[in-house]
Symmetry: none
Subunit: 209 residues, 4 copies
């Protein structure tokens, strides 16, 4: 794994090409979610898609390139879902609540995808074996939370945060959400809304003045 993987010049991708790629990525997600990263061979994925292994190689230069799409697509969908909901809020407290609630709703509606992302991301390594993202919190993912915290602090509704303590707060919120995801994998019948409510309370208290 991990050579060049040029992302297949997007300008020139036909409609049908895009559809196929999407379908294959979809199947990869299902496969990883159901049998796990290690067992998700191209063969397995192809079988689930009812296509031949070669088709995958035809549309993706690499297994790596295929797997990369999973977090990419996820992140885009996540942002499209979460961002507008937060922007619709005015108070930082509501923003934080909505951040948690919309994340939970999004996860609930995209269980397989979330889980596949976790698997891919937690198995992605650089050539020298180092984990590339670990549980993988890009700045891009933490930033919205940190912004909410800053805003709440400026408005005087949240307690004081240093740069560092804001970061810990943000990370803890993310970890709570991500951790919940894994919990959901084990116990699919968890009451998602109740869990979300509890978390809202918890972080409400922990951010209060």
């Amino acid at each position: 794994m991990s050579k060049k993987n040029k992302p297949t010049n997007q300008k020139e991708m036909s409609f049908i090409e895009k559809a196929r790629r999407t379908q294959i990525v979809e199947c990869a997600i299902e496969t990883i979610a159901e049998v796990g990263y290690a067992q998700a061979s191209l063969g397995q994925i192809a079988k689930r898609a009812n296509i031949s292994k070669g088709v995958i190689s035809y549309h993706f230069s690499n297994k790596e390139e295929l797997l990369e799409q999973i977090p990419i697509e996820y992140y885009l969908a996540w942002q499209a879902y979460v961002a507008p909901r937060i922007e619709a809020q005015t108070s930082p407290k509501d923003m934080l609540r909505v951040y948690i609630e919309s994340n939970f709703a999004f996860i609930d509606e995209n269980r397989q995808h979330v889980f596949a992302v976790i698997e891919v991301v937690s198995n992605k390594r650089t050539d020298d074996g180092k984990l590339q993202f670990a549980a993988g919190h890009d700045e891009a993912i933490l930033l919205p939370i940190e912004n909410i915290l800053t805003l709440g602090m400026q408005e005087g509704v949240f307690r004081e945060f240093t740069r560092s303590s804001a970061r810990v707060m943000a990370l803890t919120i993310r970890h709570a959400i991500d951790g919940f995801t894994l919990e959901l994998v084990r116990k699919p019948h968890l009451d998602v809304q109740e869990y979300a409510r509890e978390l809202v309370t918890l972080f409400d208290k922990s951010t209060k003045k």
Copy 2:
């Protein structure tokens, strides 16, 4: 993977046998921590241990059996470290603080082991492909936290928790700790003590009346 795996009748394990097994598990931990789950073949592990691949098969009926030792040993060491420190406390608030602090200290001192556990556990699946432990929170791991919460509630220093909200609280604390671990993988120079302090504050506030 995952056939019978008879755990090598423990009565009859000689001292030297135990030592060998320990040594091999140790090397497995190092290997996984350094090159990742996928690359941690028996060959790699054997090479690191300066023994032949066959030795591993001789001492463990399976790769699976070998890997299982990693969380098992970890759990025992974790308990031996954390439990007495909590028991030394009298107030629930201090218990919670010490729970967090001692977990952080333990992680800091056993980085490789923690990381290997994460890898093993997040790749461990039942024969039908289901994740066996997910982020892996046995009741045994959550119980101590829940006990602290109950105690604090009874003593009137913590807010009211339903069974369900206590569980969410406990899970969130665990997720914060586990999430921090992954963060530590990515950023080994994180200030562990400061992070712990922040977390203590955070959960102090969120449990307060």
Copy 3:
């Protein structure tokens, strides 16, 4: 490879068809010359021709049929180049000189083509695995040299050759030329004319009475 390969009934080949075939063969030559026989897949060739892979299959029933064109075309061009130049000579000695010189000139002007021929021919095998042409000296290629030798012998300017020793002589001349070609591949800056001159001297001496 190697099934029927009907050579596309030549009567019915349109002009455009011929042009396409020629273009494709041209690209095959370039590809083989540059990346080598093993890497010269239809995909590579098509890419270089800026056409789709399918086009090749459309115009040639086989990869085999395509590759066959390379030595065929080469032989025709070679003959058209060399034959008249020899015929313009009167003395056997000059003929031999011109044979060598014109071969060298031809090779120099058609380096890619020569090299592709070598690759194709040295990889071409019958269905039972036997090399089909080896270094590929058809009678047709040796004949002109043997004719020159015979003539020179009859005119008394060359030494006596038995049928068998004439054949060795002819082969050696060919091998010298073909060997030079490979040398040229490795060292493209070789002084072709000087090499030719040396070879003329060498074979002049070796044929002398």
Copy 4:
């Protein structure tokens, strides 16, 4: 192909290991000689050796490493055969004769090996597709001939050679020998000794004063 290929630290190679490697190389030679380079897959080679494919991978890190042994072994055997025979001669003329004769004898006795070498060498390419040795005349192979020519010149029995014309002479002799090899592939019943004799005459004349 063509990554690191560390040549398996030779110090530590056991007897049985060496034997196996030799056997496998032997089979690779046979396979290449009989079915050709392109068809000589590890599977084919393993089948001929009556071993499983994995055995090859066990003893050689690469297909590349395996194939490399073929010319290496050949060169060593060739040198061991030819060198002492030449050194046993006193006159340059005899040396040249013996060089040709012993090469022919060696080829005759090692037909498969010679042929395999040709295939390997003519398919060996650098990563950027350039032929690595072409027909592959290392200095090491040409040097003995050039030494003979120089000696003959100094003793006044050979004609004058410039550095460049000596090289052409040497190359031509090699090409004659290598070309004969290919001829032998096509026509296994060639009279080797007669061919050698003819070549001796030919080069005798062409080196004469």
